[in-house]
């Protein structure tokens, strides 16, 4: 049937197009439902495939997304030894710690490329090469990195790489996991032969095509977009620091992706500021939200040694393609005023 062929062609083509965006071959692209599935498939798939071979350790960082930390925790429940690398106070993986922890018992390491809360860039190509030396598989959660950092599977030695569609303007509910050719991996689900049996289930063709298009557009605009975001963020940070000189911008001394700013103002709390900002039409976020939507201090900030009072004051502002100079002006005007008010209330108590 022509319709069936058309759908098949669209899916094949989407796979090729996403592959090209990552420097990968089409058979190395596995479509997923998003970042969480990619992260879980890589960690648990690799751990389960390799545990019989005596490699029983999983290495990760404490600043990973919960999808990684949860999957690693599940591997630990299944008998894995869990090793967590040390971080520098700038929010970057301590290379010496990584070097010490990755030995010949390690099945898979997972280090995110760009941290989603503070934006710090991790030395992924270097860490991936180190893991390869030790015979361990290497996964990177590149959900925040795609379109911000050059990714090329031909030059960089990661074995798995996760991206998510909704971070780059594709529909929600689609993502991809790069799986280097020849890498063994246990599927999470069992059933049909879709995606070479790595991901059974009817493919979401329309979303896969959306992911391919979004990925291409993101890369086409990458350079201009990053320059624009960096300029806006520098304005934002300078504007805030000019009016709130004791504001602490986390990860500021490290190399950061241009679209994330995480700031704590002593004497405030993120919950109140977030509400006040939201009511003024400014969407920011706090630490990690639980199921109910209430906020707890961020595990990322705790992991890099941020004081608890600053961690519970942290606000994350993300910049995207819709962010304009006007938005930045508004935040620079509103945020310091809210800070002043919050401090007044704290002082009065």
């Amino acid at each position: 049937m022509a319709e069936r062929r058309e759908a098949r062609a669209a899916l094949d083509e989407a796979r090729e197009r996403v592959g090209r965006c990552l420097g990968a071959r089409p058979d190395e692209i596995c479509f997923t439902s998003g970042g969480t599935e990619g992260d879980n498939l890589a960690i648990l798939g690799a751990w389960r495939a390799l545990k019989a071979k005596g490699r029983k350790t999983v290495v990760t960082s404490p600043i990973e997304h919960k999808a990684i930390l949860g999957a690693v925790h599940q591997a630990a429940n299944e008998g894995a030894e869990e090793r967590i690398v040390a971080m520098t106070s700038d929010g970057v993986v301590d290379r010496r710690s990584f070097d010490e922890l990755v030995d010949d018992t390690v099945s898979v390491c997972s280090i995110m490329w760009v941290n989603n809360e503070i934006g710090t860039i991790q030395p992924v190509p270097e860490l991936a090469a180190k893991a390869k030396e030790r015979g361990a598989l290497f996964h990177t959660d590149a959900v925040q990195a795609f379109g911000k950092i050059p990714i090329d599977a031909q030059k960089q030695q990661f074995d798995f790489l996760t991206i998510s569609g909704h971070k780059i303007g594709a529909p929600k509910g689609i993502g991809a996991l790069f799986i280097r050719r020849g890498t063994t991996l246990e599927p999470l689900m069992h059933g049909g032969t879709q995606d070479r049996g790595r991901r059974p289930g009817t493919e979401n063709v329309a979303a896969a095509v959306g992911l391919a298009r979004a990925a291409e557009l993101t890369l086409a605009e990458c350079e201009a977009n990053c320059a624009r975001l960096l300029r806006l963020r520098e304005r934002l940070e300078a504007g805030i620091l000019a009016k709130v000189p004791d504001a602490v911008i986390h990860g500021r001394d490290a190399e950061r992706a241009p679209h994330i700013m995480n700031v704590s103002v002593p004497g405030t709390d993120s919950e109140s500021l977030l509400m006040a900002l939201d009511l003024r039409g400014i969407a920011a976020s706090g630490g990690s939200a639980c199921q109910s939507g209430s906020i707890s201090p961020s595990h990322v900030l705790s992991a890099i040694g941020v004081r608890p009072d600053l961690a519970s004051a942290a606000l994350r502002m993300s910049l995207g393609s819709l962010t304009t100079d006007h938005c930045i002006d508004r935040v620079i005007e509103v945020f310091p005023a809210l800070v002043a008010k919050a401090r007044q209330l704290t002082a009065a108590q």
Binding site: E271, S272, L279, Q291, S292, L345
Partner: protein, 358 residues
């Protein structure tokens, strides 16, 4: 907004009256695993509150007050039972969590008023009982700071429960209109408060250790498995074989004794309360008041016979049953709430029980 019918209708009425309303749900505790069928404070309740706000077209926030609530309410709850008293956490939640900590959140968004779904009214800066005598919640509200009254709006205080449900239906809030009442303590997952005590007290805590059941004359008539499992007036767990029904009439942590007695022995003719808080001008000794010593207990007439800075003693016109240390004593003049305190001791009981050191 708890996701229940009262706070939902309260919000809806304010929207109807033209207020600029912001919905908020307090997250007060975390059981780890969610308890699905609880009418209050579960994840489902947060979802219901959010759905109501979406329907009303107002923002909704979930505020994490877990740490403070844990300290001010849950820790105190455990300490009180450990001291042989019967705590009343809803009073402390209103005093410290809702009308103090939560109010600060209101300050931070410049909200002039704070509204809840309590069945009570604020009239001319004074707290009054709700119109629905059956649902009146002033027993739990006496401890709030007097200055807060001027910022409180209690929209369902003028309704009875049936009217509230009817309003929920007429305003299309079907999600929550027929939700069951939450009667139990919100942070006690299955109604069994002793589980919380077992989790939080050391396993050899006196309050959870075996002790004697004695009569008022000191005769040992049985053994219990921890005095924290008992409250004044309780009959369950009291040995049988007496000519009259027997009740718990006292708890003595010093020798872990649970004291039992007859219905007569349960009666007290006076009451001493501490941590007194006034919501009106402080009355003076000799002042006649109505008093309630237990939620839903009938009002009793009494006279203030002693009034120190933090302690008050009342003489009751007629003896009252089961005056229980740790519960609230709330004073009224008609339907005006004068103030209240935490019951320290019953006076004039036939058996003199030692007053606990604070």
């Amino acid at each position: 907004m708890s996701g229940g019918v009262d706070s939902s209708v309260a919000a809806a009425l304010l929207v109807e009256q033209g207020y600029d309303v912001v919905g908020a749900t307090m997250k007060l505790f975390c059981h780890g695993d969610d308890v699905p069928d609880r009418p209050c404070c579960s994840l489902d309740s947060v979802n219901d509150a959010r759905r109501v706000c979406e329907q009303l077209g107002i923002p909704h926030y979930v505020l994490n007050l877990e740490t403070k609530f844990g300290h001010d309410v849950v820790d105190n709850f455990v300490e009180e039972y450990a001291r042989g008293r019967t705590p009343i956490p809803c009073v402390r939640c209103n005093t410290f969590t809702k009308f103090r900590d939560f109010l600060k959140k209101a300050d931070s968004i410049d909200a002039q008023w704070i509204a809840t779904g309590h069945y009570a009214r604020v009239v001319d800066g004074e707290l009054r009982r709700g119109v629905d005598e059956n649902k009146d919640q002033t027993y739990f509200l006496w401890g709030i700071d007097r200055s807060v009254l001027s910022r409180m709006i209690l929209p369902v205080g003028t309704l009875d429960k049936a009217q509230t449900r009817a309003r929920a239906h007429s305003m299309g809030l079907e999600v929550i209109a027929e939700k069951p009442e939450s009667q139990e303590i919100c942070f006690v997952p299955d109604g069994d408060y002793t589980r919380i005590l077992e989790q939080r007290l050391p396993s050899d805590a006196p309050a959870l250790s075996r002790g004697p059941i004695v009569t008022s004359s000191g005769k040992i008539v049985g053994e219990h498995n921890g005095f924290a499992r008992y409250t004044i007036g309780q009959r369950r767990g009291v040995p049988g074989g007496f000519p009259h029904p027997m009740y718990v009439i006292g708890i003595r942590p010093t020798d872990r004794a649970v004291v039992i007695g007859t219905r007569d022995e349960l009666m007290g003719s006076g009451v001493v309360a501490r941590e007194v808080n006034w919501l009106t001008a402080t009355p003076s000794v000799g002042h006649r008041v109505s008093v309630r010593v237990r939620h839903r207990a009938p009002l009793a007439s009494a006279e203030i016979v002693r009034l120190d800075s933090d302690e008050i003693e009342l003489a009751l016109d007629e003896p009252v049953s089961a005056i229980t240390p740790g519960q609230s004593m709330v004073l009224y003049d008609g339907d005006r709430v004068l103030g209240g305190g935490f019951i320290e001791a019953s006076r004039g009981q036939r058996v003199a029980l030692p007053v606990l050191a604070a």
